[in-house]
Amino acid sequence: MALLELSDVSVHYGRIQALCGITLTVEQGEVVTLIGANGAGKTTTMRAISGIRPLSGGRIRFQGDDITRLRADLRVVRGISQAPEGRGVFPGMTVQENLEMGAYARRDKKSVPEDFDRVFALFPRLAERRSQVGGTLSGGEQQMLAIGRALMARPRLLLLDEPSMGLAPQFIQQIFRIVTEINEQGTTVLLVEQNARQALTRAHRAYVLETGRIVKSGTGAELLADTSIKEAYLGVA
């Protein structure tokens, strides 16, 4: 049984169809990446999985249960947590409070301090800026905070929507290293990335999205070697 299963999922924004029946699975323990050009529907896919965008067709299953109509906040309780595109850091809350928001839906409050330690170990910068307000953090710091906050939910499935967006190269390296580290600690990851080469190198499997349809899938290595992928996404002529 796959951890996450999307079957024939469609999403509309008014008349515009952003997803046209996509089917994908994420197995327990995997890093799966979703790559595609701007406007392909990657963020829409993430929003559909988290439940903040309703489906116009298809089903979503999580741990075997149909969650298609489950309220978004209850999906967090089930173990789906997302660091959204554009970070979504709460501007008026401190780093500490933002991280506490990540643990908002947790039932096991006792282990929250442990996870604070874990997040601060991953991102020492956040520990230094604990009482700084989110809105005044640099872009990179906000990105770390969004990822750390998503981890505070202790998710079974972590959804990362372009975690490397707008970051300097050495930061991007660090973010990808942390994704691998999080995965090795036992969290399944679905990763959306523009940075296709890095993502494919790190991922067990990948899907390629083009204007709302999945046009290719395979292991990271397979897609890295694929000529059409090289041309379209890896900048190799």
């Binding site: 309780v77 959204p84 709460f90 501007p91 809350m93 506490e100 928001m101 908002y104 307000v133």
Partner: protein, 332 residues
């Protein structure tokens, strides 16, 4: 001099600086008392605006319904046009009972209003203007329901106690009524502030105010937060209605919430709408300024005009109010 100018100078813009100087401190203390009431009502506008970006114009009726609860409870307990002879303990117990009743009634009306009038619209995702029209419609609806039930005139006065001076500051008396109202309002606002800033649920409210979608991604139930803000606004408006009846014993009338609601809304905007501490500051300021204006211009009709002139002037220099907009963002 031209007769018109004379007329204007005499009858209209007759600045009575002497009176204002004489009554400055008594105006201040009384203004703070009214301001505390505005502030409590302003909280309801501010909380709902913070999470929904909606001006709940029916909040003035949430407030006046509480005043009716106060009237009925106190009349039932034997209060009437003259102050009752009660021991302090019995009086406090009666007033607390009236306050709790008013808080419950106002909160219930606020929550039902949200369910019946606003939630269906939210589900449909209608434009913001539709919400505004609905709010105005809901305000009229509640007013006229009360009108049909109780008729056009105000209810008989209920006097709770005769205010007595407790001490004198700068030559002006401060009475026990003023002290009660200001102290109780401050405590209630403090509780609300601690709730929003220090508790988990309150953090959920701030999260929805700052970024509703991300708040949902954190597992916050947005619908519950919205209900909670209407509930809190209702509770505070209910408490305010007790103090309002204390100050204006014959003010329980179907349309009695209208002016006070507008002033409380103005107070919320003045302090920075969506900002809890702003509601307090805006309320107190508006109460005091209204009183100065009234004394300076010699007629109570001027008090609201002066208050709004001050509001507009402040907003020209600080478009988002004195403390700035939005729940939590004020801490930046």
């Amino acid at each position: 001099m031209h007769p018109l100018t004379t007329f204007l100078a005499d009858a209209w813009i007759n600045f009575d600086v002497g009176s204002l100087r004489d009554q400055f401190w008594s105006n201040t203390f009384d203004g703070l008392t009214y301001g505390a009431i505005y502030a409590l009502v302003a909280m309801g506008y501010t909380l709902v605006y913070g999470v929904l970006n909606l001006i709940n114009f029916a909040h003035s009726e949430v407030f006046i319904v509480g005043a009716y609860a106060v009237f009925f409870v106190l009349s039932g307990l034997g209060f009437g046009p003259s102050a009752p002879a009660l021991s302090i303990g019995a009086l406090v117990a009666d007033l607390l009972l009236a306050m709790v009743a008013a808080m419950l009634v106002s909160a219930a009306v606020a929550v039902i209003l949200e369910r019946v009038a606003y939630r269906p619209l939210r589900r449909k995702g209608v434009p913001r203007l539709v919400f505004l029209i609905t709010a105005i419609g809901a305000s009229f609806t509640i007013q006229y329901l009360i009108f049909i039930w109780r008729g056009p005139s105000a209810e008989p006065a209920v006097i709770m106690f005769r205010p007595e001076a407790v001490f004198t500051v700068f030559g002006a008396d401060i009475d026990d009524q003023q002290l009660t109202i200001v102290a109780a309002a401050l405590v209630l606002m403090l509780v609300a502030d601690v709730f929003v800033n220090r508790t988990r649920l309150g953090r959920g409210v701030r999260a929805v105010a700052q970024d509703p979608d991300t708040a949902t991604l954190m597992g916050v139930n947005k619908e519950r937060v919205i209900m909670l803000t209407f509930l809190m606004g209702g509770l505070l408006a209910g408490a305010a209605s007790l103090f309002y009846v204390m100050k204006v014993p014959s003010g329980v009338q179907y349309s009695g919430g209208f002016i006070l609601g507008i002033k409380a809304f103005a107070a919320a905007v003045l302090g920075g709408i969506g900002n809890i501490r702003g509601a307090l500051l805006g309320g107190l300021l508006l109460g005091v300024v209204s009183n100065y204006g009234q004394t300076l211009l010699g007629a109570s009709q001027w008090s609201d005009v002066v208050a709004f002139v001050v509001l507009v002037v402040v907003l020209m220099f600080r478009p988002t109010g004195i403390l700035g907009e939005s729940l939590g963002k004020a801490r930046v």
